[in-house]
Chain length 476, copies 2
């Protein structure tokens, strides 16, 4: 349990190594034109969003079934070739890069919605189904899937990174909303992590082990998810504050009071400014909370009234709420395009997006300290957060080819992560570890990292699955 | 990953083997009078509740701190001696038996409530704190811990078995309500499974791995739990039905409608009869639902009205609800003493308690089929369930010394488990695997059992922690 994983590392493919001819032939025989070594295809699969440098795989397989994924895994295992799963490529921490080369399995063509079960409030989908695709499909059923990270990402990718987003404060993250997974493991065997009962005490929680494992323990090919009834009524509210601390303190009070807000999003003045310029909105350029409330007409009214009272107790004066569907859509569109709004603040700018999550009592202090760091930064930075969970992000708008800016961003990120961990928080609330947060795993987990290593070695002894992700000493 | 664990098994202590003298001396030096080999102490620690035969450990250690647990684990590891954690001994599936002998660590003296944090809605306790102790302590804070399996069990034991109970339909199980754990692992090292943020995407979910691991991967010594505000209003309702199917169908509809019931318990006519005799109640001896509603005065009223309407749509006529605290207490006391009520139906009877959990759409059918089995049984059997989760129990009142009755109970249990798994449910919703459900693990998990074995070997290579539990080929 204590030895590093050297023997395995030395057998991994270097980044530029071509695949063994026998493997290429076998994959081409299996997949035909759905196997590609074209440079453009490889390049497209070598990176997510955010600032991480592209590391293309040696080839890309476009799988169409769990059985095909199993066959690909068996072929790659014979040649000890790394396997990197790829959904929609919206990752923010380098999850889909191929630092050890190998074969990317693109699951985007596995986009069938297999079974909607309204009576059980669950659905089974192939891993390549996106959350918008699912919710569009569900439109006439009165049901919806709430986990919403903003991007047009796949549900398999969301399970693999334990994604969450704006609705998590009320409905939970992928941790709470994945019922069961179909996974191809290192032997190529296909397993199902659990049945569909709402709870079980029958052995180790394999579902939760694969949720958030970022493709390092197996390839998720099908996902069973919990569904919820579309609320009878929905309203949204916007509330500007004079200062950061008042906004964050108001959120803490709302959570402590147990008000079941569906969304409570924080945007700092820099993010509001970028949003106004990008989306044509005219919000006051001050720290602002965006709320959404779900329930019956009366519940929604009561929740909004309570939130308004608490906000005003914290000095807010401009609480405005609306149930108009067009107003709601406009507000959330502005919120969901924050990434691009920030990016537009600088020609050819790229976003270094980082997130942390802290206990709610530490939120105001952490945001204030972080704000001081970004006030001193040489580039534009916005803070935006799913603050009901204590989760907030920095979007640093920089030039990845400028080493001084990258070093400065690294320092800001490091101070942020240390601050969050010192508050008993986490180095990432929802973006995941990928390659970007590996350096903080020891600080956050201490001896727990050894357990994670032991689990990785036990389930993937040849280090085939997404090598170089999550775990420090397995990295290059 | 595929070899059985033979080398380890052969080094395990036979059940009656005394401990090595060096280990006895070292443990006595460490713990003084808190180390015992007295027969009465060993006997007390060799069994839980329910029907499983006692298998006493060779000695019992009464630990008072995480550091002491770490020291005990290190000493036992040196001698390859099994270690069995013990909370309150309320287990129903043989979790605390010592089929391989070894040392029991009783955590009952680790009963300090370490830190209540109202602002973060969480609390950290030592593993030996019971749920009633915690809720009594919290009484003046306006907060409570909802997970309620009925028995006076420890929170460490509840985490270890992934317990749930009556409130889980609204508040979730230990899976959802454990924030973080302190665990002594096989090396004796003390790890913390995570920080206290409400969500994290930083690596494998060690918390969820230890929740439900039944002491087979490490010893849980501290537990951080989510707390909730005591609801402004609470009401309860009782609703008799003419038949099982109508009652179960009404529950399914209530869940599908998204009514946030806090509790919805099913008692069949046999359980009602036993309750009437034991608790002096005068309920109609028909299938009956017990409800509890939490919220504001208005919400509680609205929820009860909706539930009543649905129940009446399913043919119920006697829906009665009350907010009177004494009525509520009387109703839940009757519900919580069902185990003893059933036991009292036969002089010197013991309860074989078994539970399964199925998707809600399969609940009515599974309960009906199970009812036919128990109508044909030669002994008294009651069905009782946390049916909002699809979870129900059989309490079979039998004589464990009668082989014919034990064989008959085994057949009923086996049919129940097969029925649940065929419906994509689980062999145990909340009691856990222990020794009693091991035989169903392959049926339920297929290839997943190999992964569980691999995890067990990775984290506990010498099979020290609670050997003979959960995993089939690690058993004697």
């Amino acid at each position: 349990m204590n030895q590093p994983h050297e023997a395995v590392l030395s057998s991994a493919q270097p980044a530029t190594a071509p695949l063994p001819v026998a493997l290429v032939d076998a994959l081409r025989a299996l997949l035909g034109e759905r196997f590609s070594t074209a440079a453009s295809t490889r390049d497209h699969h070598g990176h997510g969003e955010s600032y991480h440098a592209s590391r293309p795989p040696a080839a890309v397989c476009f799988a169409q079934s769990t059985d095909e994924v199993s066959a690909i895994v068996k072929l790659c295992a014979q040649q000890r070739t790394p396997i990197i799963p790829f959904g929609a490529g919206t990752s923010l921490e380098g999850h889909v890069t191929a630092p050890h080369g190998g074969v990317c399995i693109d699951l985007g063509q596995m986009n069938a919605i297999l079974n909607v079960r309204p009576a059980d409030l669950d659905v089974t989908v192939q891993a390549g189904v996106t959350r918008q695709q699912l919710n569009t499909y569900l439109r006439d059923t009165g049901l919806f899937f709430p986990v919403d990270p903003g991007a047009e990402c796949t549900l398999g990718g969301m399970a693999a990174t334990r994604a969450s987003g704006t609705n998590a404060v009320r409905y939970g993250t992928m941790r709470e909303n994945v019922v069961s997974l179909t996974v191809v493991v290192a032997s190529g065997e296909i397993i199902r992590t659990s049945g569909r009962a709402r709870k079980s005490a029958a052995g180790y929680d394999l579902t939760r082990l694969f949720v958030g494992s970022e493709g390092t323990l197996g390839i998720i090919t099908e996902v069973t998810l919990r569904l919820y009834g579309v609320p009878e009524a929905t309203s949204v509210a916007i509330c500007p504050f004079d200062d950061l601390k008042s906004a964050a303190s108001a959120v803490a009070t709302i959570i402590q009071m147990g008000i079941p807000v569906a969304r409570v999003e924080f945007l700092d003045k820099y993010t509001i400014r970028a949003t106004n310029q990008y989306s044509g909105t005219t919000y006051r350029e001050v720290p602002t909370l965006f709320f959404e409330f779900h329930g019956s007409e009366r519940e929604v009214h009561d929740q909004a009234a309570l939130a308004q009272q608490i906000a005003e107790d914290h000095g807010a004066s401009g609480f405005e709420w609306t149930a108009d569907p067009q107003d709601r859509a406009r507000i959330w569109k502005a919120r969901h395009t924050v990434h691009y709004a920030l990016q537009s603040m600088r020609p050819n700018g790229r976003i270094w997006s980082t997130d942390v999550c802290v206990p709610i009592s530490a939120l105001a202090g952490c945001i204030e300290e972080t704000h001081r760091d970004i006030e001193a930064a040489s580039f534009y930075v916005g803070i935006v957060g799913h603050v009901g969970d204590g989760n907030f992000h920095l979007g640093m708008v920089l030039d990845p080819d400028n080493p001084a800016e990258m070093a400065e961003a690294e320092r800001i990120n490091e101070r942020l992560v240390h601050r969050a961990i010192a508050a008993e928080g986490t180095s990432t609330g929802e973006h995941g570890v990928g390659t970007g947060k590996i350096k903080y795993m020891e600080l956050e987990h201490g001896g727990g990292v050894k357990l994670m290593h032991a689990i990785k070695r036990a389930l993937d002894p040849d280090n085939l699955f997404n090598p170089g992700k999550i775990l420090p000493s397995l990295d290059l």
